[in-house]
Amino acid sequence: MAETINPTERLQEAFGNAIADVSQVQGIPRFRLDKETLPLVAHFVHTHPDLRGSLSLLWAVDHRPREARYELCYLFTLVEQKDWLLLCTDLHGDDRLFRSITPHIHAAKWYEREIRDLFGLIAQGHPDLRRLVRHEHWPKGTHPLKKDFHWDTVLERHQGQHVFRRIEGEGVFEVPVGPIHAGIIEPGHFRFSVAGEPIMQLELHHFWKHRGVEKLFERQRLTTGLSLAERVSGDTTVGHSLAYCQAVEALLGLEVPRRARYLRSLFLELERLHNHLGDVGAICNDTAYALAHAHCSRMKERIMQLNDRLTGSRFLRGVNQIGGAGCDLTAGQLSGLLEETAAIERDFSELESVIFANASLTDRLEATGVLKERTAWDHAVMGLVGRASGIDRDLRRDRPFAAYDEVPVKVALYRYGDVRARLRVRMDEIHESVRLIGEIRRLIPQGPIAVEPAGLPAAGSWALSAVEGWRGEILYVVMAGEEGRIHRCKVRDPSFVNWPAIQWAVLGNIIPDFPLINKSFNLSYAGNDL
């Protein structure tokens, strides 16, 4: 048994003098550093064999007009203990520059570009400082999350052209795809460089759906932001609203009743179920196996109708509210739900054997779109995509929320990282979700389902919450402002992290397999673009 490592001691040993202040927020050790040492500490946390910190979130806060400073926060998940570690630094006065950590920590790449776009803070030494969220036609100097930028500013349109990375050489050509695609999907742009059929490079150009969600949150009160959280990514309604509720509850110091926590887990599993069922079908459909698609979309529809009957919303809108659950289920409804999900599982198991008996399907799925464990680790890939590449992380087990401390989860894990592995993770999670629904039904206690929020948090206090949605880890950082308003709400859908990884998974594959690979990731554009 290895001795337990205390990360705080490790860091103090190595950087004692540079650490200005160590504190605990919600049990997370927080180190305040000056901006010159922070990249060194971040590198240390990332590479030290005992810590192996993976960058989970990087966000900025504009503290003006209260204090003349910007704050940068780096959240790491330590791989062994599954604990969080937070590094913070300040940029005072007119200082707009900080040192990029991207050269050492690949996962920071998009975060730093995002911070530059939204706050005008520039990561020096970043290898790629093109615009990310603001497309090139936005006027110069528009940084929407700065406090002096009004939420309802009408933007002018300027001339500008996005410059893609280019590979030049004989026989190399580019294939642009999007933003409007052939199927019923969301807008995004993909630029392939190919020589013959295999993909040599893929570059993403996203953020077409940027709606200013984080700025809109700043207009809300803590208690009214929920309907916005539900609409960050429609297919993850429960995941996002739960993450938002948990953050606000931590700020208000609310203790959620036990029954409500069980209901939250139940709805989260229902959401996982209908999305996974849809995805299994869609992956099969992209190999032109329409039969499996038809069966899966039939089962998915069955769950959606079940959702509608139970809660009045096919997407489970309104099932979470601050302080508890928004709707209760009677014992009769619960046993009906159990019967229905068990029937769907039997139905699905039969289909599973049909799917795996199909050799030509297996041929398309195996060794297609391989995301190696090393690449996944470098990009801090999470959720089901990570679990298909050997990243053994699941918040339901590692940092139990809702009722998962009382209803433990068996985590599906595969190592091949190909489309088939991602399909297998989904299939295993479907069975696991049905089992969990049974467990929840067995253990759910009686009692109230919500407590009333009372009191207001101090301005400047903040809370972090994490939920394992069906795609992966959803993180919310909510910072309270004056009189119960929201000063800052950082939303991070797992899509934002997993999108860049797709650029590596497709290398060497042929363009006709791209839709299949993309489908097996099935990332949200809305949750990414915000």
């Binding site: 052939a182 969301e186 759906k209 990514s233 979309s297």
Partner: protein
């Protein structure tokens, strides 16, 4: 093979096994019905997402599943605006998508219909006023039909499309 046949026999026909749509929130204008006259028998739609939360996309997808089976009403999803009779637009129009929407509209051959699907497309919903949103769909291109809801249920979408094409009249009277 036997497994597939067994599965198909056990499943049976599921088409039509969905709840009835409630009364429409916003009836289809008679002018829109006149515009839709050429598409009574078949309607090829191109779905354009200009900034939705993707729930509307999911419901459009559901429309084509075996339960709703939009195809039986002559509904097709076209892969390109050049093949489309109607554009179904979801979401508020974001600053970044504005030009793409106008391009798609120009690329769709006349005569054409524009259907604004969901609250966001009709009035921007919760995203109203944001710096990144330029307004509802009708600010940029003429809209024939509005199907409100967040998101509207597939049965409601189906009913609205049927009403638009005047196909409900036969049963109603």
């Amino acid at each position: 093979m036997f497994r597939i046949i067994k599965k198909s026999l056990k499943t049976g026909v599921v088409t039509g096994q969905h709840p009835e749509a409630g009364p429409a929130e916003q009836p289809v204008a008679s002018e829109a019905r006149k515009n839709a006259a050429p598409f009574r028998r078949s309607l090829a739609v191109r779905e354009v997402d200009t900034g939705s939360c993707n729930a509307c996309e999911m419901e459009m997808n559901a429309l084509m599943n075996p339960v709703y089976d939009g195809e039986r009403f002559g509904l097709h999803v076209a892969a390109s605006p050049r093949h489309a009779d109607a554009l179904v637009v979801t979401g508020p129009v974001t600053v970044n998508m504005e030009r793409a929407l106008k391009d798609v509209y120009r690329a769709t051959p006349d005569p054409k219909l524009v259907i604004a699907l969901g609250d966001c497309a009709v009035n921007c919903g919760v995203f109203k006023g944001s710096y990144a949103v330029t307004g509802p769909v009708e600010r940029h291109i003429p809209v024939d039909v509005r199907i409100p809801g967040c998101p509207p249920r597939p049965a409601e979408i189906l009913a609205a499309l049927e009403e638009l094409r005047g196909r409900l009249d036969k049963t109603a009277g």
